[in-house]
Amino acid sequence: MKRPPIAAVALGLLAALASLIPIGYLLLRLFEGFEAALAELARARTLELLLNTIGLTVSVSLTALAIGAVQAWLTVRTNLPLAPVFAVLATLPLAIPSYVLALGYLSVFPSFSGFWAAWFTLSLATSPYVFLALSAALISSNFAAEEVARSLGKNRWQVIQSVTWPQVRPAAFASVLLVALYTLSEFGAIAILRFDTFTRAIYNAYRGSFDRTSAAALALVLVALTLVVIYFERRYRGDRWQAPTAAGRKRRIDLGRARILAAFGLGIIGLFGAGVPLVSLIGWSVNQTGFDLLRLGELVASSLAVAIAAGVVIGIFALAISVWNLRYSSRLSGAVDLTAWAAHALPAVVVALALVYFGANLVPGIYQSIWLLLLGYLILFLPNALGLVGTPIALVPRSIEEVARSQGLSKNAALTKVVLPIALPGILAGVALASLTVLKELPATLLLRPNELDTLATELWQATEVLAYSQAAPYALALIIIAGVPALALNAQARKLISEVS
């Protein structure tokens, strides 16, 4: 294997070291009070939390996979009426912070709480990850092969099993990984819906007893769970198959009378995933009085600036790691990739406090500055971008690079002039997803931001703390509208390709 570009290695190592900060912090706390930590883990309550957490994660993962797969298949492969509209609807929950979703449902069904409520809310909130991944995979999969399979005697269902699924499997696994880790780390919605998971216990430990040792012990269990989930994902994901660009036009499967039923079904999902919360928010906004447009403008500007900056930074690091790990892979690059993921299931509060400790005591120069905040976002959301950036890079054939080299381009030039432009859609998608997630992020932003920096999310939080929903609503709506832009951009690619397939 040839040597990778220095820049990729440097950035990759930097990202890995950053991701190790929270883990190092947790180990530090753990060893401070090792026995107390063990006692904490040995409680019966901990087992109950573990079962709750695993149960929720598994059920949400499976449900999000089912929802996303059905949405992707119907919008890409069939003659579903208004397919582009349904594709947008399927992506929309991505723009809505999960705590806003939960509040939206709560306002309509005040007794909405517990396991089923958490399962329902998180499944809808995370299904867009699966939808986006699977619709992209379906579009680039070989449709003609499916018809050949039918000519060879397989019925529709067998074709999906033996031909379609193997091609979309990597995308499915990668997106379900994101769903699972998101569920593990989720706090906002779970707290509102009053369901007890590890993350809730961690928060309570920090805020209630300021018992950092037991919080650290619980958080390390989450890290362990992350590694288990990642192990399974890598083991069973299957290899990425390079699908040749299929010539000829792709056809849509005729659903016949089932068209209406399918549209109806997707409509219901869209109603709950986006319709209900948006309607509640609009309702609250209407009750609002004395709304400060200037303030809203300020918040929008600062939210966008932070989100875009973070998105670009994360995109650059994701690119570096993907290029290194996918084209010049070695044990070290694999370890770097794994490290970037290891911290992904940690609740944001843990990462933030680790950085507070790190910043205040070790690097005070950047403490409470935008740089530390960006570092926090990098640690939290790098994995989100890695999948999206990685896939196109993995699929660019090496032969293209070799041809470029043979024509006199240096290694770096071959990368920037040849590989990058081909991978650009994926890179932009990664930046969009990272920006989107940063827009919605709350706990880490609260802890790490510069003192006078307010964003839509923090403003929203201020209002909901005192349950001033009507005050919060306009900010929530503004947040969703702005987050809708990258969300739709993520989907626009899929949409464009969908309209080509007809």
Binding site: A191, R207, G208, F210, V306, G311, V349, L446, Q462, E465
Partner: protein, 327 residues
């Protein structure tokens, strides 16, 4: 190259934002009370004193956690917290430098830390909010709520600091065993909420019969919609009952500068205290300043006889609450 240009353009926001890092202001305050509430008061202080104040707004518990992580290297000068627990944690970690005598003596002794590490700024009374249509017989003692007739009708917020402070008071008055029994009964009887405000909303909406909250939530809502429009009513428990606990929001100094002391004095001045009385309907603590008209005077509340600084034993309280399975 086009790519480089685009990259530069998007990094521009970072450069602009980096101007937002901590500046060398006269004063950095960590406030667990919201900007909507504290902002105008801070502005007034800046006008009167001519000092520059920078405030960091977040939850009291988050700020305490942050302070603990920052340790000695914390840039904060003053910590204004919503409840005693957060201040106690900071005090225990040795981060508070203590309140000067002349400021400390402004507030009656029961409402501040016994070791002078922090001073109370405003008071909040624990109350029972109830739906008069659904509750015909009010509980006399907090322990009446253990009765099976209350199953599913009473709301509590066990993760809320004020609730935890009240449970600590119960422990101090009645001992751990009795408190645990009450908590276990609550596990059976009570509906769990995340926040006091949610409990009030539920009672107002007719979903919940009664709940344990802080007084000012009710008054704040009454100010918003008009007292006549409120469906729920407030009640207190019998004299010296743990359920009548008056807790405080307080302030501690991390870095004793002139500016910090000035700020704390300001909070306890007529201006500051009246502000809390009028804006949030809390109880001003400095003697001679009266609360909003519709409130029961502080002296008339049949509070239990405890020293607020004893509420610092939060860890044991939490242990009990968790043992009962409420957290």
């Amino acid at each position: 190259m086009k790519l480089r240009g685009a990259l530069a353009l998007t990094l521009l926001p970072i450069l602009l934002l980096s101007g937002c890092s901590a500046e060398d202001n006269a004063l950095l305050v960590y406030s667990g009370r919201s900007e909507a509430l504290l902002g105008p008061l801070v502005e007034k202080f800046e006008q009167e004193s001519g000092l520059d104040v920078e405030v960091r707004y977040a939850g009291s518990a988050e700020l305490a956690a942050q302070l603990l992580e920052e340790g000695e290297n914390s840039p904060a000068d003053v910590f204004l917290a919503q409840d005693a627990g957060a201040l106690g944690a900071a005090a225990k970690a040795g981060l508070l430098t203590g309140i000067p005598d002349e400021i400390y003596s402004l507030v009656p002794s029961g409402y501040s830390a016994a070791d002078q590490s922090w001073v109370g700024v405003s008071g909040r009374a624990r109350v029972l909010v109830y739906d008069p249509g659904k509750v015909s017989e009010l509980p006399v003692s907090i322990f009446d709520l253990e009765d099976a007739s209350w199953q599913g009708r009473i709301g509590i917020a066990p993760t809320n600091a004020s609730f935890q402070a009240f449970v600590t008071a119960m422990r101090i008055l009645h001992g751990d065993a009795r408190t645990l029994a009450w908590l276990e009964a609550m596990k059976v009887n009570a509906v769990i909420y995340e926040k006091n405000g949610a409990i009030l909303e539920a009672v107002e909406a007719g979903q919940l019969d009664a709940g344990l909250i802080n007084h000012y939530y009710w008054y704040a809502r009454a100010k918003d919609v008009g007292q006549a429009q409120m469906n729920s009513r407030l009640a207190q428990f019998q004299a010296a009952d743990a359920g009548n606990l008056v807790n405080v929001a307080g302030v501690g100094i991390l870095n004793s500068t002139d500016a910090a002391e000035q700020f704390v004095s300001f909070l306890l001045s007529e201006t500051g205290q009246q502000y809390f009385a009028q804006e949030t309907r809390e109880y001003p603590l400095v003697e001679g300043i009266s609360p909003a008209d519709e409130l029961t005077p502080l002296a008339d509340i049949p509070t239990p006889a405890i020293d607020l600084s004893d509420l610092d034993t939060l860890a044991e309280t939490l242990e009990l609450i968790r043992q009962a399975g409420l957290i």
